[in-house]
Symmetry: D2
Subunit: 341 residues, 4 copies
């Protein structure tokens, strides 16, 4: 049994961490740190936790020594307080954008300001179990990647790592409104955001840099906000190397993911849910991955879907925790999602 | 041709007024007053007006003499600046809550603060053409009622005025998110408000007082925010007086509304849209009214639906303008709504 | 460990039963009966169960002896095949409407056809643990009530049973589209049903009769379909008996529900989720109940919300199963719901 | 004043045609042909037309001579009955897919069956005023393109025709549910389709062939159904030819569309609606077009949005009619769209 702290616990990612950690059989105490609501009941902000907990938010100063600290603060706040938490916890799992890239220059290009702790960039293990499970077993510093990036990476990784596609890819990412956080501005009012198809980043979205880093290829991405609260879908488009056919593609995906507890292959000929779709994944930690091949054109379309607060955030973080602690990887992450929804 | 000014033109009601007035064949100039965005393009805030106008927002001081001023400011701001506008325009049409009640005490009970211009309360003609058409022909001061109130009043008026129901009624009102305005807070973020069934006023909603005033009976109302941007549906429940049957109810509605340009009776035995539903009214000025009678129980259920920014606000205001100016009542208000939507 | 069968397993209630029963620690085998899809994979119809099960639908004839049969067939089909299942299972839990009323005449009035097994009507224990927990411990025949009825009953029961309100009440019920089932017609196409406020039963809805039966008072109800897939909210309106104040109401609710595992009292002065709202309950078995009192008017508004497929159907059925078997009542029903969603 | 007939008037495109034609100042009579509902009131199927018309659906045999026939039947039905209508009307405007391609082989590849009237394929003028205005002035046979195709073509045409991009492009298209029509199947039930991100055509969508035809370049397209009833957004991705910079792109779009009544350029640095978004276009005939340039990568992203039933169907058809008849091109098409919505 361990003790953990969630910094930024009043946010959406923070709330999802609380839900998972409060229900986690190996977690005995959770400190919920919020600079906005210290002393207030947690379930006043996260109403789904009513009757699940009587926890109150506390301030950062009230956090005692603990085993694992989860950083779910606004982007930019983690890198300035990282020293504080490294000293107080055995493991730090950062869910902000601050340590997702390993190159301070790339960080500056995408985030438009200098990194505050560039010397630490190389110390964080990327929180993608499907790529870095072994390193995660001993990782004291973990950086959980962006929601659209996780989906994008898992969509094409099996083909890239096997050299089945040319080393460049385009991604089309769609996301729900919860990615903008619990304190978003007027552009995220329901009357404005409802029913949107808002191309908020035709080029240059920050998750593009992460996908490129993890796949090791040139990447371009376009990001659109669509009508959903939770849910991300990232579609990767790539060119098949000569001679690569559907069977090779299918084989690569199967081989890569057959033992993954949270990646499912979804590419069916019939049925309503033939390809990965986020809505049936809400609350679950799955990333569904599917693909279609146009052999004649040598074209590959890969589709990945997930819940941005789960496999795209809090769920992924807990999966990393489970790996680090040697627990069953799916511990506390068994909810399968709903249908219809 | 007249010149008009819209005060509070950057809000949702203000924007709808602009859409209608810019497209109105008898309006030659519109001043769009915004304290937030003076000098900014109107279509930067109301993107549906792109290519329809090159208008810029101006400050209140820039408004010259004009024929009609529409007040679409936040509630409470109209009563403190009413003198300014009465002097500058021949007619003032107020779309705020400030002059909707004719009793300063009732105002204070429902709005929790004292009225700033109680002496004027009696001078405003209620902007409900179906009840006050004759008075509106000469009205220099008009107060457009609340969106849920218009629907509630039109739902039961034919029965109340004929004494067919007992003098008390309950209303159940549902509304979309645009009623909270363009500067609503975090509770109206898409992630919070999406898919809501939010009972924001189980008792004591302000529109309750308006319905009671116009029907002259005791009224209780419960108000719920449901998933929609535009749209209000108010359901009235009343007890039929002894001997009143379905035929009498049907006759009352028909007689009352047969010549009304913007009230349609909708009560069908079959079809998908058997009773009034807001979604097919978006952008139109109709208030659809329907009813069901339980003769055995002596119970009457009346249903009214409208677009809160149109018949529940800007459209109603323009209808009042048309009446005042002696123009065809439907001038500039011909859009019928869409299906499917 | 027991063996169970779900009849009508391809429907929405059936699918939710499968999700719960497959994940239930005391269930060792589930037969999923579907007359439409025998031999097809269950996860082809219920995509949220991918990787959770390799189960195939079977025909009714393939069901062997088992401990509990859940009937989730279309209404009307349970009463004609009830004998078949009573012989084959120790316990039958019926989720259809067929055995929800205990009076064949009332059944005929609300359902417009004669009951096929009136002699059994009295043998079914209503599946409302909050009212009938003791009887459910020994119940071999259970009838789970309608989704809007469960909410309506739980909203007012504490007051009615204590005689705090007059013996009549009105209910306003709102429901999502999943209540119409997986084979609904053109009126339930997305383009028609999206954004709806469809008053599909202004009077005479069947759940009205159930609420009346369980509360033992006169009941009227109006039912509206609103924009949601899952989720029911039922608002009860009643008149307080003379002398009953807010404290008495609060006390009644607390006393009634303080030990209930799946009823939470939600009536807050501030916050975004002050009253019960379905969306944060999706997938959970909670029924949240709240209330507002207008002491001056002697008026009581009670609000209940639930997930129609869970506490309004499958979850409630599993809760009844747990009670019958002497297991912890919340076994397999621990998912708390999500926020935001 | 002319007389027109709409064949397939009970469908969604048919209903939109009725709305526009009934409100069109130069149309004196509309025959609404429906094989499903002959004799039934038009407003029973299209409730937004209540009070706008008392029209009844008629059978095809009841259509007399008329000036223009609009074919809005299911795909495949137009090519088998085209002779019938050519003989009875001066002009035929086909809104089905049947005459959108000019090559019977391409048709067969994309539609998987042989064309029934290949000899006529070359006789239809494509209903894209922005490309074929002059030919449309004399066109007796017009084929209105697919909704996603119109958006895709308008997104990239200015660059392709000027040789500013390489001769290949990828399109990512998103569409609402109304594109599936009024008789869609279970996959389009609200409970299934709500909140969807359904990749229904990762490759090989039929509109791909149309875009390729009109742009004269190689085209691939991925099509996704997202949460919306109306609305299409097509994003085109292309590679800029060496030396082409942002100014050249901007100049091409401006030059091409500056005098187009229904194309607006939308590419802003700030604001909530910076790029084209369908929701503010509902009911309007605009196609908004925007673009972003990544000069460093030589990458062009062009975005087009429209209402699939308007500029993507009925509105476009009426624009073609206006051109053919020499009327003002925007006649009957003046509705600007709503905000918020």
């Amino acid at each position: 049994m361990i003790r953990v702290a969630v910094i930024g616990a009043a946010g959406y990612i923070g709330g999802e961490l609380l839900r998972l950690l409060i229900g986690h059989p190996e977690v005995e105490r959770v400190d919920a740190v919020s600079s906005r609501f210290p002393g207030r009941r947690v379930d006043g902000v996260h109403p789904n936790l009513r009757s699940a907990t009587d926890l109150l938010f506390c301030s950062a100063d009230e956090v005692d020594e603990c085993d694992t600290v989860f950083l779910a603060t606004p982007h930019g706040a983690a890198m300035t307080q990282i020293d504080r938490w490294v000293g107080r916890a055995k493991q730090v799992i950062d869910l902000t954008a601050d340590f997702r890239l390993d190159d301070a220059e790339v960080y500056q290009r995408y985030y438009r300001n200098a990194h505050a702790a560039p010397q630490l960039l190389g110390d964080f293990v990327p929180g993608i179990p499907e790529l870095h499970r072994e390193r995660l077993r001993g990782a004291d510093l973990v950086s959980v990647p962006g929601c659209m990036a996780v989906a994008g990476v898992l969509a094409l990784y099996p083909l890239v790592v096997r050299g089945l596609v040319e080393p460049m890819a385009r991604f089309d990412a769609r996301t729900g409104s919860s990615g903008s956080g619990a304190t978003a501005g007027e552009a995220n009012l329901h009357a404005e955001r409802s029913g949107a198809m808002r191309v908020f980043a035709p080029t240059g979205h920050r998750h593009e840099a992460e996908i490129s880093r993890h796949l090791g290829i040139a990447v371009t991405m376009t990001a659109t906000g669509v009508e959903a609260v939770r849910g991300v879908q990232t579609i990767g488009h790539a060119t098949l190397r000569p001679g690569v056919d559907t069977a090779a593609v299918r084989g690569a995906f199967r081989e890569q993911y057959q033992n993954e507890p949270f990646v499912r292959l979804v590419a069916h000929k019939r049925g309503t849910f033939r390809y990965p779709e986020p809505k049936i994944l809400l609350g679950s930690n799955f990333c569904d991955v599917g693909y279609a091949v146009d052999e004649e054109a040598g074209r590959l379309v890969a589709i990945a879907a997930l819940d941005n607060l789960m496999k795209g955030g809090a769920g992924n973080a807990v999966q990393c925790l489970n790996i680090r602690m040697g627990w069953p990887e799916a511990l506390g992450l068994s909810f399968p999602g709903l249908h219809p929804i």
